[in-house]
């Protein structure tokens, strides 16, 4: 029997994924709390451990790991951008160890090391974001924000913004197919022509986006939606009432919170998380 799937913002997830056992608010706070870890911690070893932990979470949550493969080129590009930025524009100090000299540019080990530190931090952060988008639906985000007492208008706008990205991608593909059917294929053109002709995509895309927003506004009015600013008025949170916080939610939240406070305290009061403790700094 085929596994029942549930649409997430970035793909599909089996209905029996353990992640659905958690309240949407917990999953939303996961993004907010856990993505603070790589921002606080620079130690590459800890960020590598964090990335491995995230991959394990992907597996446990039954997220199709192919979703990460879709971003492999982004990972590669990101590495080159960071490496180029730090090695060519990272500055030079006479104490630095020069690895290669390319004309006036000195490629130094210290700059390359910084590039690696930042890259590993970003990998951890990106994996957190991919996990979040792979396991959350627009509904979960709205419910999570409403559970955090965020006004309905803001929560709904956040959901609508996320959905509009998806709709714009669909519109863009439709326009691209239509342009191809009329013998305009940008992929086959040189870069300068691509730039010149890009308007052929952008103009209808913007026109469609304006039309869609007009339609959504009419539909909202027709369903009795009254804009009450940040006050929710008499609105019932029916969907929110279908979710309950469980012991597991409190446990996960407590765990994430304690870990966050822990690394903040350790980074303030000890040098265990300092870059000097890293193997990279002993080379």
């Amino acid at each position: 029997m085929p596994t029942k799937m549930r649409r997430s913002l970035l793909g599909y997830l089996p209905v029996d994924s353990p992640i659905f056992g958690l309240h949407p608010m917990t999953r939303l706070l996961f993004l907010l709390i856990v993505s603070a870890y790589p921002m606080i911690v620079r130690l590459p070893e800890l960020n590598v451990a964090g990335s491995i932990f995230m991959l394990a979470l992907f597996k446990v949550s039954k997220v199709d790991l192919r979703v990460i493969k879709n971003y492999k080129m982004a990972f590669v590009n990101l590495f080159f951008v960071i490496a180029i930025a730090y090695t060519f524009f990272g500055g030079y100090n006479p104490d630095y160890r020069v690895l290669i000299e390319l004309g006036p540019v000195k490629v130094c080990w210290e700059n390359l090391r910084w590039a690696m530190v930042v890259y590993i931090q970003l990998i951890f952060a990106i994996l957190i974001m991919i996990f979040f988008l792979s396991t959350m639906r627009e509904r979960d985000i709205v419910v999570g924000l409403r559970a955090l007492k965020v006004p309905f208008v803001l929560a709904y706008m956040a959901g609508l913004a996320l959905r509009s990205i998806g709709l714009s991608i669909i519109d863009f593909n439709t326009i691209r197919e239509a342009e191809k059917a009329r013998a305009l294929d940008l992929q086959a053109l040189p870069f300068s022509e691509k730039v010149k002709k890009f308007g052929m995509y952008i103009v209808p895309l913007v026109a469609l986006a304006i039309r869609r927003s007009d339609e959504v506004s009419n539909a909202l009015d027709s369903r009795g939606f009254r804009f009450t600013g940040l006050k929710s008025g008499k609105r019932t949170d029916y969907i929110l009432s279908k979710y309950r916080m469980t012991k597991l939610d409190y446990l996960v939240l407590a765990g994430m919170g304690v870990f966050l406070v822990g690394i903040v305290l350790v980074s303030i009061y000890t040098d265990w998380l300092a870059l000097e403790s890293s193997l990279l700094y002993r080379i």
Binding site: R6, R7, V15, R137, E138, R139, G159, R163, R212, E215, V216, S217, N218, A219, L220, D221, S222, R223, G224, F225, R226, G233, K234, R235, T236, D237, Y238, I239, S241
Partner: protein, 286 residues
């Protein structure tokens, strides 16, 4: 006779930037519980008339208006669309353009949440609307965007039905659907007619499907209403309809031809069964 639930008096409407009036002094009365079908050629003003019934015209579109539209006691110029939505549900032609949520369940309860109804009532209305539109329970968690055309429009109708409005306006609900989707929506309209005593106003081109359901047919032509009549009377003068770019179902055209040749003088057949009886009667005479 009871006070009409919709009264359109001398309605003229012109969109901003347009030279011509789209509606040129329209008068129309619709009573509670009537099933009304609005027909007419493209660009005749049907959609504008429909949008004037829930206040989208003039509230959401800039333009010039003369005359007035009173819906369930509310003058559309004095009440917002959201206020009028308490009485009028509106189904748009493109099902995707009216979706406001990413799951069927959220979509159906959205308007009920807006009204601040108790949770138990929301739940009860949701199941009622889903049952009436034949949407299975396992669709609740699905994104409406991923359903078939007919299913999408059924979800859109369920979302409006859940509001239990006195009046439901459906603007060409089958125009963007494949034949199966069209049939599904017509089946839902049939169920609505049978089980839900609301005033239903449908703009529809599939006359053969909608005529048997309608209590009243309204012809809109170049911004005017040249004919309002019950279906049998409406289709009595086929030549008049053809002159106004309305193409009646083949069985009615056949009845018209037989009548012209003096072979048939009975009522206009509205269904295939009635047409079969008509043909048997004609063949029996010969």
């Amino acid at each position: 006779m009871a006070e009409p639930v919709i009264r359109v008096e001398g309605l003229k409407w012109k969109y901003e930037g347009s030279r011509d009036w789209v509606l040129k002094g329209v008068d129309l009365e619709i009573h509670q519980g009537e099933f009304v079908s609005i027909v007419g050629p493209n660009d005749s003003g049907k959609t504008t008339l429909a949008m004037s019934l829930n206040g989208l015209v003039p509230n959401n579109y800039p333009g010039a208006m003369q005359g007035r539209v009173v819906v369930d006691g509310m003058d559309t110029r004095e009440h917002s669309v959201a206020e009028i939505a308490e009485s009028v549900g509106f189904v748009f032609p493109d099902p995707e353009s009216q979706f406001l949520s990413m799951t069927v369940e959220e979509e159906v309860v959205f308007a009920l949440e807006n009204r601040g109804l108790p949770r138990e009532e929301i739940e009860e209305r949701m199941w009622w609307a889903l049952e009436l539109t034949n949407i299975p329970e396992d669709y609740l968690e699905k994104p409406p965007y991923e359903l078939s055309g007919g299913e999408k429009q059924r979800v859109a109708i369920a979302s409006v039905l859940a509001m239990r409005p006195k009046i439901i306006v459906l603007d060409e609900p089958t125009s963007m659907l494949d034949p199966i989707g069209k049939t599904e929506v017509i089946e839902v309209l049939t169920e609505m007619k049978r089980r839900y005593n609301a005033t239903v106003i449908v703009i529809e081109h599939r006359l053969e499907d909608i005529a048997p359901l309608a209590d009243k047919m309204v012809l809109v032509y170049h911004g005017t209403i040249p004919k309002v009549a019950p279906p049998r009377e409406f289709f009595q003068d086929i030549d008049f309809l053809l002159e106004h770019d309305v193409f009646p179902p083949d069985v009615m055209v056949l009845a018209n031809e037989l009548r012209k040749r003096g072979l048939y003088d009975g009522p206009v057949p509205m269904t295939v069964d009635e047409a079969e009886r008509m043909v048997r009667e004609v063949l029996g005479r010969r």
